[in-house]
């Protein structure tokens, strides 16, 4: 394929109509590193890393290895995703550290070590998801971890000291913030090293919301899997459900009816608009412009109420299922959507003028929390965060060498970019994406296909698939592997926040402490999505 003509890796395209994915296998860790370096050189990015316990299933395709563990790496390239796996021996599951090539690998590698017990041979060895709730030599996602200790029950909690990077020097000191905050938000710890108000360094520690979702997914059936994956990060439930459904459909060779695809798009775009509306209001509020908050929250409330009315759930949870969608809507519902798009679009247009022409707000937004496109590429950013640095990367839109999956291919999505990279740019991209999504919603509602809304899905023993969906925050990936009984052997949901959280550490560095909440809100990353 495309990139590695000189490589010994053979890639096969994944079946199905989702975003293009090629699957391949590397024989050794060194070759994985070589491949990663080639991807980096070609301007690609790291999309996800996870591990799986294959000891029960017998060895992988590579000869000479006893049944052991498997490392999965997904790389994003211009034309699609390369899903590369590497088999590791059971007695010494070690692979080379990729964080020198892709800094985004750092946390994913550490999480993989904590969960599955396959480690890098060098680099950062601090735990990431393990906060001392289970012993260091017990790995929750190994098959034999179930019976020995039963989901962690019975373990003593051993809170461990975490090795934050220290900053020294005249007047430098630390401000620890969280995991419990003054407002009702998700928990996360932020360690600021500051001189006066100036931020020298920010280091995050996440994992406080670890709830063992991946463990629960092991052995689940397809339906239960959909419900669990839909709850990884509630604000992106449609994106997760669709990514999971795509992965399952690719593995099971299911054909999804066209009407179901359009209904899924309808829900995903409604989810995008709902989140952008809420965040634009919250951004105003974080600059003490509470008027913005109340106006946008009113719009979001109207929006969610129509969701409840049409789909039976405010956030449309469990409405996208493998095979299609769980709910159908009538013709009057489509006209209600068109009407609401027009009404909300008009108000948002006024509010955009208000935001754009408010000197106080613009002073807070402009130049605050800036990252440039080079850094965004280095950190493998996707989604709104990347587009706000001018990178034209949108899984829904055509670009050179890439055709988006249906129905986006036919809709002709116009990606919104802004080159400034600061809070103002992210605000502008959010506004732009609202208008684009409203246009798409109108187009979908007008051109809605008729027919079935759900197809039968039969699990295929031993099959696997990868689903990629452009969620409102960025690229959501779900990797699925079935076991010999047709149950889920391993599911890995991957949130774009994995890549964007480190970008926040960079974005705040040139700024002052009181600007952090605004910068943080402009990204509005998921804690739950990465704590798993």
């Amino acid at each position: 394929m495309f990139l590695c003509d000189d490589s010994s890796i053979e890639f096969t395209p994944q079946a199905g109509i989702g975003a293009p994915v090629w699957r391949g296998h590397v024989p050794s860790g060194e070759e994985l590193k070589t491949f990663a370096a080639a991807v980096h050189l070609a301007g690609g990015r790291l999309a996800a890393i996870w591990g799986s316990d294959e000891r029960q299933r017998g060895g992988g395709p590579s000869a000479g290895l006893r049944a052991g563990f498997r490392l999965h790496c997904v790389f994003g390239l211009e034309s699609g995703h390369a899903w590369v796996s590497l088999d590791l021996p059971a007695d010494e599951p070690v692979y080379p550290d990729l964080s020198g090539i892709f800094p985004a690998a750092n946390r994913m590698q550490r999480a993989t070590r904590d969960m599955v017990g396959i480690a890098t041979s060098g680099g950062d060895q601090r735990p990431w998801l393990r906060h001392g709730a289970w012993p260091a030599d017990w790995y929750p996602l190994r098959h034999d971890a179930v019976h020995e200790a039963g989901m962690g029950v019975g373990f003593q909690n051993f809170p461990s000291n975490y090795d934050f990077v220290q900053v020294g020097g005249e007047g430098a000191h630390e401000i620890p913030v969280g995991p419990i905050h003054a407002g009702i938000i998700e928990p996360g710890h932020f360690r600021f090293s500051v001189v006066g108000e100036r931020v020298l360094r920010l280091e995050q520690r996440l994992g406080y919301q670890h709830k063992g979702v991946e463990k629960l997914l092991i052995g689940a059936d397809i339906g239960r899997g959909a419900r669990l994956v839909g709850r990884v990060s509630g604000d992106s439930t449609c994106a997760y459900a669709w990514a999971y459904a795509t992965a399952v459909e690719a593995a099971c060779r299911t054909e999804v009816p066209p009407r179901a695809l359009l209904l899924r798009t309808l829900m995903l775009e409604r989810e995008r608009v709902a989140n952008h509306l809420g965040d634009l209001g919250a951004l105003g509020n974080d600059a003490a412009f509470a008027f913005g908050l109340t106006q946008f929250m009113r719009l979001k409330e109207d929006w969610l109420r129509l969701n409840q009315q049409l789909f039976g759930h405010r956030f449309m949870m469990d409405r996208i299922v493998p095979g299609g969608v769980a709910t159908d809507i009538e013709a009057p519902a489509l006209s209600a959507i068109v009407e609401q798009c027009a009404a909300i679009g008009a108000t948002v247009k006024q509010l955009r003028t208000l935001y754009d022409e408010h000197p106080g707000l613009q002073d807070r937004f402009a130049t605050t929390g800036a990252i440039d496109a080079a850094l965004a590429r280095e950190l493998s950013l996707t989604g709104m965060a990347a587009r706000a640095t001018g990178i034209l990367l949108d899984g829904r839109a055509h670009r050179q060498g890439y055709t988006p999956p249906p129905p986006y291919a036919a809709l002709g999505v116009r990606p919104v970019t802004d080159e400034r990279g600061d809070v103002a740019a992210r605000v502008a991209v959010r506004f732009g994406e609202i208008f684009e999504s409203l246009r798409l919603l109108r187009e979908i509602a007008v051109g809605m296909a008729s027919g079935e809304t759900c197809a039968e899905v039969t699990p295929v023993a031993g099959a696997g698939g990868l689903g990629v969906i452009e969620a409102w925050r960025g690229e959501v990936l779900v990797g699925v592997q079935f076991d010999a009984d047709g149950r889920l052997a391993r599911v890995h949901p991957h949130d774009p926040s994995w890549q964007i959280w480190p970008a926040l550490e960079h974005a705040v560095m040139k700024d002052i402490v009181p600007d952090f909440p605004l910068i943080n809100k402009s990204f509005n990353l998921s804690y739950s999505g990465v704590d798993l």
């Binding site: 401000i175 620890p176 106080g360 402490v513 009181p514």
Partner: protein, 318 residues
């Protein structure tokens, strides 16, 4: 010369301040809600909050010294004294000679020093953060406030607030340009001193952006109640000072009981207008970056100095 009616009037003024101050905060909150097209909280919300806080147990941080426990009482006492010497209803205030306008600035300063020290006392990073931000705002706001007072003091040749107000209230209506400058400068200072938008945000839950709220994060129970009450007393004191200095009409001149009674509805009316004005300013503005606060208060200082110069150069014949 202290008269019985003067003493009564003084006691009444203090009582009125204690009662009206939370009401003013509640009114500002209501106006803010209306202007943001929200359903407004009850007008009496601050009283409910005080009642709730007074009934709660105090939770003290480990290592809190007696300074931490004493600070709420000192701050509250300072604000009561400030309200006592600012003529709200009558200029016949027996306590007024205790502190002139310069001392009034000192009383506010004393409260500021205590609350900042208490914030640093428990040793949390937020307290220290808030304390030093408060000092940044304070050391810039105080000179501007002093300049405003000098401008007015030169007009009436006295630094006693009561005398200034009495003189201003009972002269023929002349428009002094210096007062306009001083008035704008005073408004700027009031926003900064009372932790309002655009300098601080009293409604925020973002601990990293707080100034005043960061200092009181460790307080609870009756301590917090006193601090909240003191904060509303400070807003009341500043409002009354502003109204007395720039809109002195209607304040009772001395031991005139009828004038005193007539002054009450007028004061309520003026406070209601003032509160609505504050809410309107807070609604249309965003909070500025913290390093813009020096510019903001520098502007206030410059305006006050301009007022003083205008007074010296143009109005010195008065």
């Amino acid at each position: 010369m202290i008269s019985i009616s003067g003493l009564l009037g003084q006691a009444f003024a203090i009582l009125l301040a204690l009662v009206l101050a939370p009401l003013l905060s509640g009114w500002v909150g209501q106006c803010r809600a209306w202007l943001q097209s929200r359903t407004a909280p009850p007008l009496l919300l601050p009283y409910y909050q005080l009642q709730k806080l007074f009934h709660k147990d105090v939770v003290l941080a480990h290592g809190a010294s007696s300074l931490f426990r004493a600070a709420p009482f000192v701050v509250f006492g300072c604000m009561v004294l400030a309200c006592a010497i600012i003529p709200s209803l009558s200029t016949d205030l027996p306590l007024a000679p205790a502190a002139d306008a310069l001392a009034l600035v000192g009383v506010f300063g004393l409260a500021r020093v205590f609350i900042s020290l208490a914030a640093m006392d428990v040793g949390t990073s937020f307290g220290t953060l808030g304390g030093r931000r408060e000092m940044l705002v304070g050391f810039l706001a105080e000179p501007a406030l002093l300049m405003v007072i000098f401008t007015l003091a030169m007009t009436v040749q006295s630094t006693s607030v009561a005398t200034i107000v009495e003189t201003l209230a009972h002269r023929e209506l002349v428009i002094y340009p210096s007062l306009a400058f001083a008035g704008i400068a005073f408004t700027f200072v009031s926003f900064a001193e009372n932790a309002r938008v655009p300098v601080d945000n009293p409604a925020t839950h973002l601990e990293l952006t707080m100034i005043h709220e960061a200092m009181i994060l460790e307080y609870s129970g009756r301590h917090l109640a006193l601090i909240e009450w003191a904060a509303s007393l400070k807003l009341y004191a500043y409002s009354c000072l502003g109204l007395a200095l720039f809109f002195p009409w209607g304040i009772a001149p001395g031991d005139n009981f009828l004038a005193l009674v007539a002054a009450i509805p007028l004061l309520l009316f003026k406070l209601a207008i003032g509160g609505a004005f504050l809410a309107a300013i807070e609604t249309i503005n965003a909070k500025m970056r913290i390093f813009r606060a020096p510019e903001f208060l520098g502007t206030a200082f410059m305006l006050a100095v301009l007022g003083l110069l205008v007074r010296l150069l143009l109005e010195s014949r008065v």
